[in-house]
Amino acid sequence: MVRKRKTSLFIATMAAVTLVVTSCSGGSESGGGGSAAELAIATGSQINSYDPPDVGDNPASQYLQPVYDTLVRIDEDAEVQPRLATEWEYDATLTELTMTLRDDVTFTDGEEFDAEAVKANLEHFLAGTGPAVRTVSDIENVEVVDEHVVRIDLATPNPALLRYLGLTAGMMASPAAIAGGDLATTPIGSGPYVLDTGATVPQSRYVYTRNEDYWNAEAYPYEEVALLPMVDHTARLNALRTGQADVANQMTSRFIDEAESAGLVATIFPSGDVMGLDLFDRAGTFSPGLADPRVRQAMNLAIDREQIVEQLYDGRGLPSTQIFNPDSDAWVDELNDAYPYDPDAARALLAESGHADGVTVTIPEYSGMGDLLAVLKQQLGEVGITLEGKTVPDAQANTEMRSGNYPAALIQLQSNDPWQAIQLMLQPNSPWNAMGFEDPSVSALIDSARNAGEGERAAIYQELNSYLVDEAWFMPVLFIDTIMISSADTELTPYKYSVVPPLEAFRPKA
């Protein structure tokens, strides 16, 4: 049969080509999780660079955690604990932070960890352009006081500095690697694991093997850690169910029942992320109505926070009228009652302010936004406030939102330490104060908070919070929860206010 021969020849050729091409690829076999030897985490984020200044404090930093130690550690109660730095102290002006460092730590390339290393790292960080850099831009000098003592000089006090030194800003890489210039692709730190570049397949499987000489080995029981980026929630859960992963992070409440019925464990804790509308245009440039606090208050009255949390998030979240973390000094319980769900009152306020025929607010809209926007549009629309979405490509979403071309944006931001929120949203040059709005009362309060001692800050923060809520600077909706799903033989300690908990949160169940 000539035709059949031709067909089989064709098939054979294609098969041969495929075989040749596919056999030229690296990567090891995907082993499953489930043993103490390996921890496999299915995660929703991707990584672009292993160089700390390039990476934000968002979930992407989980790819750097295994390799780098930080100066301090944020524990499961969101408290600052020693790590590479054993003690620290501020001076009276709160502009000089002196830290004593461990003397028994070496980087995996043999370099010593010392004050010089800290200086090199901080300077490298400050020269970077990533999203976390501005959080520590107050640092104007790093002084090597002694071999293992370093002093950080600030231009102005930074109440959240210690916290930042437990995040990307505090990650310590080998100075030799910094000088070598390719930290972005080859991270060298002093952390519990080392990146196994041979076994790592970019965008598929990132493998970290144990650092044998690590100074705190007991805290990290796994021989190997693998991070598996998977964009799709269902794919992550499937990986977990079929044993290819031990943990699926960044899940949503809609998966909890199914996970539990499959014998998996759902761990839920506050993420410290606040979601809501950031009303940039308080001067009324694009949307004149927004200049009137009554209009902004009307917005706050128009949405039913309780029901949103109950129905959209299955109760996994905390309704909030405030932008400051519920556990922080700035939180005031009573403020949460300031805006009950009252569409009639909202309409009355709008009428009173002379905008009975409606107000239009345009925000950037992109595909990764989720369901909240649809509900907000609906509920605001019911009182006469039109929330108009202008579609922008996903990648430019952040840039667009902060461009200053929109009166508002729907945001989800980390808000742990009140100072963090202030830096992010309230200062004239804050990235999320897109139109640079300034208010003398707010500026004054921020200044006093900056210069106040630990004890006095709480009161100032609360006063600031009340002002912001009364004036309805924002329209916060809720603080969402982190939802993690793990296999039955993995023990997971909830780490408050993290979207993705650090590695030390995981151990094999005894």
Binding site: K6, T7, M14, S25, S28, E29, Q46, A395
Partner: protein
């Protein structure tokens, strides 16, 4: 025949150049302020300008295209603007995944589609109708719908195949096959239907030709007539639809790779396009066109070889 092949090769090369140029221009237009997106939120304006100069973004498009193509010709596609990884390495790592899926689906659907199409053409009546319906259902439901159903039943419930991940052939042939079954099945179902339809139609047409009747008069067996003569004459239609479907498969891989978390070109394409990672997108386009040109060349050669008027000329 040689001249035929040479002509097709030349047009293929021209194609690569032209499409690259157009794509470059299109992407450039669509990427907004790329430099700012790359350096990120915290950057000052000066830093953005520096980055732009570093990447050559301040030059006119034509100059940038020349820069890019002069390096691309020797195989240097540069590094990703966002991940700083070498693009050629990235692509050689991911290409096998996508190719495995696309070629696998093509082969499976060609084999099944031709069989179904021939069967339907021969046995009109209830079998033909039944096959039509089955084939149509396969075509009508989206590939990702099948993917979800297959994963839920065959993987999560029955544990027969992995739900996510890709095993390279070099690591384990059986693992490689196993990780491909569900993705290939999801994609192949729809393509099989399309091929079956065209083959059925083409075979019916051929069987109505005079020479088929003459062949019957010579006492040749039914299978000889169908498989030797009819299929050969019906093959141009089959090859046409096969080449079109292969290109569809390359696109369908984007969605399938996401559902099965396969580290192929599809995912890379999506990320790169959304971010505006121009070097990556250009590299992907070039590779895709090259694949398409090669596949089309193979199919055209088969076409020409099957058609004596071309073969002799």
């Amino acid at each position: 025949m040689v001249r035929f092949v040479a002509a097709r090769l030349t047009s293929g090369i021209i194609l690569v150049v032209v499409v690259s140029a157009i794509s470059f221009w299109l992407i450039y237009l669509g990427s907004g302020d790329i430099a700012r997106t790359i350096v990120g939120d915290g950057a000052t304006d000066e830093q953005v300008v520096v980055k732009a100069q570093e990447l050559g973004l301040d030059q006119p498009i034509a100059a940038q295209f020349l820069m890019w193509s002069s390096r691309a010709i020797i195989g240097d596609f540069g590094v990703s603007w966002f991940t700083n990884q070498g693009i050629s390495t990235l692509i050689t790592a991911k290409l096998p995944v996508t190719l495995s899926i696309a070629v696998g689906s093509s082969l499976v659907s060609a084999a099944v589609g031709i069989a179904l199409g021939v069967a339907a053409a021969l046995r009109r009546g209830w079998l033909d109708r039944a096959l039509q319906i089955v084939a149509i259902v396969g075509f009508a439901l989206p590939g990702f719908w099948f993917a979800l159903v297959l994963v839920a039943t065959l993987s999560v419930q029955a544990g027969l195949f992995p739900a996510t991940g890709y095993v390279p052939l070099s690591a384990s042939p059986s693992g490689w096959l196993s990780s491909l079954v569900l993705p290939v099945a999801s994609l192949a179902i729809g393509v099989t239907a399309a091929i079956a339809q065209q083959v059925r139609s083409a075979v019916i047409d051929v069987l109505r030709q005079d020479y088929i009747r003459s062949l019957r008069s010579r006492g040749l067996s039914g299978s000889q007539i169908v498989f030797k003569h009819a299929l050969r004459n019906a093959s141009p239609s089959a090859l046409t639809v096969l080449s079109l479907q292969f290109i569809n498969l390359l696109g369908g891989a984007v969605i399938i790779e996401r559902i099965f978390a396969l580290p192929g070109l599809g995912q890379m394409t999506l990320d790169a396009t959304v971010q505006g990672d121009v070097p990556v997108i250009m590299a992907i386009i070039v590779f895709t066109i090259v694949i398409v040109v090669v596949v089309n060349l193979i199919l055209d050669v088969a076409y020409g070889w099957l058609n004596p008027k071309v073969r002799i000329a």
